[in-house]
């Protein structure tokens, strides 16, 4: 915990080494957060970089300690996402294009995941509208607490809980349908 506090302080002070740790820790989660939103590989990478640039400017004014860092990072990502929605009224990228993604990275786990399974998961999650999709991603992919999700999405905790419950039920139905289909 002390190391986390130190990291938080160093980020506020603008130390490059602390930002290197921040990037290493959050570039994957941020990329997933954006990619699951629109399924556009390049746009997700752009938004991730933009979020980090925004974080450099806004982290010195972050209130609270290290326990708020993750929520702060994703709240910034959420602002970038909302701004992008306003600027680009594009249609989502078709699933076929998503499945043609090149090697997403050097991770062995990523290489092991087949395109078909990934496409099915993305297809299922993209059936949800925002903020339900963001709630599910943050909760079940990034393991956020209810309070953190409430902070990121600026909604009451009760609403987050009901979104999680409803989303889980719907997701299971969708996945079961996909399993039944040939």
């Amino acid at each position: 915990m002390a190391a986390e506090e130190l990291l938080s302080e160093q980020l506020k002070a603008g130390l490059p080494a602390a930002y290197a740790i921040l990037v290493g820790r959050f570039e994957g989660p941020l990329y997933r957060f954006f990619f699951c939103d629109h399924r556009n590989h390049h746009l997700a990478e752009e938004q991730t970089a933009e979020t980090f640039a925004q974080l450099v400017r806004s982290l010195p004014s972050m209130r609270g300690g290290c326990e708020h860092l993750r929520a702060f990072v994703f709240a910034t990502a959420r602002h970038v996402q909302l701004r992008c929605w306003r600027q680009r009224k594009e249609q989502p990228v078709p699933l076929e294009e998503v499945l043609n993604i090149r090697d997403p990275g050097p991770s062995p786990a990523a290489l092991a995941a087949t395109r078909e399974q990934l496409g099915r998961a993305l297809n299922a999650i993209s059936r949800f509208d925002d903020p339900l999709r963001s709630v599910l991603l943050l909760r079940f992919v990034e393991d956020f607490s209810i309070e953190e999700i409430a902070n990121v999405l600026e909604m009451p905790m009760g609403t987050v809980k009901s979104h999680i419950h409803r989303g889980r039920m719907q997701l299971k139905l969708i996945l079961t349908e996909q399993e039944c289909k040939p």
């Binding site: 603008g14 490059p16 930002y19 290197a20 921040l22 990037v23 570039e27 994957g28 990329y31 997933r32 990619f35 699951c36 590989h41 997700a44 990478e45 991730t48 970089a49 933009e50 980090f52 640039a53 450099v56 400017r57 090149r102 090697d103 997403p104 990275g105 050097p106 991770s107 786990a109 990523a110 092991a112 995941a113 399974q117 990934l118 099915r120 998961a121 993305l122 299922a124 999650i125 991603l137 079940f140 992919v141 607490s145 209810i146 309070e147 905790m157 809980k161 009901s162 999680i164 419950h165 889980r168 997701l171 299971k172 996945l175 079961t176 399993e179």
Partner: protein, 161 residues
Amino acid sequence: MNDSDDPLEESSDESLRNDPLLVETFSHLRRLEPSLDARLRNRQVVVEELERLQVARRKQVLPWWGRTIAVPVPLAACLVVVAGLMLFSFFHDRQASSGVQIAAPDQPVQRSAHMQSAGAVAATRAVDAHPVVEYYETETYICGIGRLNSESGYFIREENQ
């Protein structure tokens, strides 16, 4: 977290743990990672942004005599008026205590001062043989504020021949 005792959430998380379909679905999404190029670009963006921030901070650091503070307009206006009144009061008191009064040249303030000298009294006696009643009025103004002080009365001069 205070949400751990919520039955709704507990059932949700428990179902997720026990449901292989959901676990598998989310595990695929967890494996999504950005490309190596994107990782490098993220680091480059952060370094550039930090440098830009450093330059901006250096420009903002000023010596104490070059720094400014923000003061609300009503407060600034009040301060200016109060300072003006204090200055006026200071000079007004100085003039009063030194015996110099603000008045028109033909008004009795000067005249009364003039009459205090014995030589002047003697000279007047030689000229005026009858009582003289004169009205005088002394007013003090300040530009933009208005009349500050007013004094009026009758000056009666009666002398015996």
